[in-house]
């Protein structure tokens, strides 16, 4: 069904693309958030990536590779946003005021340590880590290859 929607979107159907977006949007958000660790930025990036995908979907050669192709676009958008954020970053880190749900695996300390460690990674390294731990069914040899092919 996704392939049929991609074919229709390539032919110019915005309704078909809208349906595609709703199929893949949540997953894109999860990926973007894992890379950027900021929910608002992740939301913006996903929107930008979907719009870019609509614009360029006619250039997609294999409709079956729509989602990996979209993820490449998404990753590039994450890189671009991260670069912008670096220009304006300060030493003050905002802490989201939200209740932390009890976790069977992660203690509050674990989460805090991982959070600080993750933020020290470059956005490219974060992307590798995200895709290393995410199963997407792509036939790629390694997440490094995937990230490299995203143009970074």
């Amino acid at each position: 069904m996704q392939r049929a929607l991609v074919d229709q979107a390539r032919a110019g159907s915005d309704e078909a693309f809208d349906a595609l977006a709703r199929m893949v949007g949540d997953r894109c958000l999860a990926i973007a958030y894992r890379i950027l660790r900021d929910a608002d930025l992740a939301d913006e990036v996903v929107q930008a990536a979907l719009i870019a995908a609509w614009r360029d979907v006619a250039t997609l050669r294999d409709p079956d590779l729509f989602e990996p192709w979209l993820h490449r676009i998404l990753t590039r958008q994450c890189y671009a946003v991260a670069r912008q954020q670096r220009r304006w970053s300060t030493d003050v880190r905002l802490v989201a005021i939200k209740p932390i749900e009890p976790d069977d695996i992660l203690s509050v300390d674990d989460r805090d340590q991982l959070d600080r460690a993750f933020r020290r990674l470059t956005v490219e390294h974060r992307a590798v880590l995200v895709f290393r731990t995410t199963s997407t069914g792509r036939s790629l040899r390694s997440p490094c290859e995937w990230v490299h092919r995203s143009g970074r």
Binding site: C28, L29, I51, A58, T59, D103
Partner: protein, 324 residues
């Protein structure tokens, strides 16, 4: 208390935390945006010698160039905000220092196109649609839509000093780019003649017909590389002579020299020249880029290529066989 301290498990749990549902408002925002965003055509089919199916006219989200030949004065409604225009003899190089008084006001579109707006040069151009004759024959109006950091100049637009797109009619091709002597100009002037003569002064890497589809007129394209000249300066170097720009006296106080050469200064550039034959004239769009162009720059270049159109109420003429 965690039941295991396996680092992989901890990292996986950490990465899997966070929002998992895109907000409904975000889907709505995307839906609205795609309805006003035009798709890019597949340029690989375009450059492959023909489209396998009629392509949609597409803005590509970056730029569209439409040269419109109109039968009414293009300067009607020219001063929507009361400003005047003057063209100085500024250098054709977009990297040259702009004069503070060098400014050109675009003509208002003769249609009620809501996209068209005033275009000024030199300077950054805001995202949006523009219409301008660049001081050429007022029957030509080049209409284009821009996004993403373009700078306007007297003959076109540029980005990051790495890519330029210029629009101009071609009156003659040079026989010697530094001396600016002209090649013969036959009475049956055409894009085929331009390509044939151009091939005598530069090495054409590729040339041929570009396909007719989606409102495109017949035409030719040619690709070549320019190196900094050794016999003259880059500003002296020229490939084409253009007609004298025509502006009403109350609009233009001076015009730029009628030559087109290296738009990005004295550096090696790659060029893609797209030609159309309209009413006995040859109209060109030239894409030029340096090796310093980034992937983003090249994507912008491709967007222009995908979306280029030449519309005219005149009968189109078939191009002469390619000289390249």
């Amino acid at each position: 208390m965690t039941s295991t301290r396996d680092p992989d498990r901890l990292i996986a749990a950490y990465l899997q935390s966070g929002p998992t549902e895109l907000a409904r408002d975000s889907y709505v925002a995307v839906d609205v945006a795609i309805r006003r965003t035009r798709q890019r055509a597949d340029r690989r089919a375009w450059l492959g010698g023909g489209l396998t199916s009629p392509s949609r006219a597409a803005f590509a989200g970056v730029a569209i160039v439409v040269a419109t030949l109109v039968g009414v004065s293009v300067f009607r409604g020219f001063e929507p905000n009361g400003t005047t225009v003057s063209l100085t003899s500024a250098s054709l190089s977009v990297s040259g220092s702009p004069s503070a008084s060098a400014s050109s006001l675009a003509v208002a579109t003769p249609t009620d196109d809501p996209l068209a707006r005033v275009y000024r040069w030199p300077g950054n151009v805001q995202d949006g649609g523009y219409a301008t004759s660049f001081g050429w024959d007022p029957r030509f109006v080049f209409q284009f839509f821009l996004e993403n950091d373009w700078t306007g100049s007297d003959r076109g637009i540029s980005r990051n000093n790495a890519i330029s797109v210029s629009f101009f009619p071609i009156d003659a091709v040079v026989a010697d780019p530094c001396a600016r002597t002209l090649a013969p100009h036959p009475s049956s002037w055409s894009s085929g003649v331009v390509v044939a003569e151009l091939g005598k002064v530069v090495t054409l890497e590729r040339s041929g017909r570009h396909p007719v589809a989606g409102g495109r007129l017949p035409g030719l394209f040619a690709e070549f590389t320019l190196r900094p000249p050794t016999s003259c300066s880059a500003s002296q170097f020229a490939l084409f002579r253009t007609p004298e720009p025509r502006c009403p006296p109350d609009v233009c106080s001076a015009v730029s020299p009628p030559w087109m050469g290296m738009d990005l200064g004295g550096v090696a550039t790659h060029d893609q020249l797209w030609l159309n034959d309209v009413d006995g004239q040859v109209i060109a769009m030239n894409l030029e880029w340096t090796d310093q162009a980034t992937a983003d720059d090249l994507a912008e270049r491709d967007a222009i290529l995908d979306s280029y159109r030449l519309l005219t109420p005149f009968d189109s003429s078939s191009p002469s066989p390619s000289g390249g």
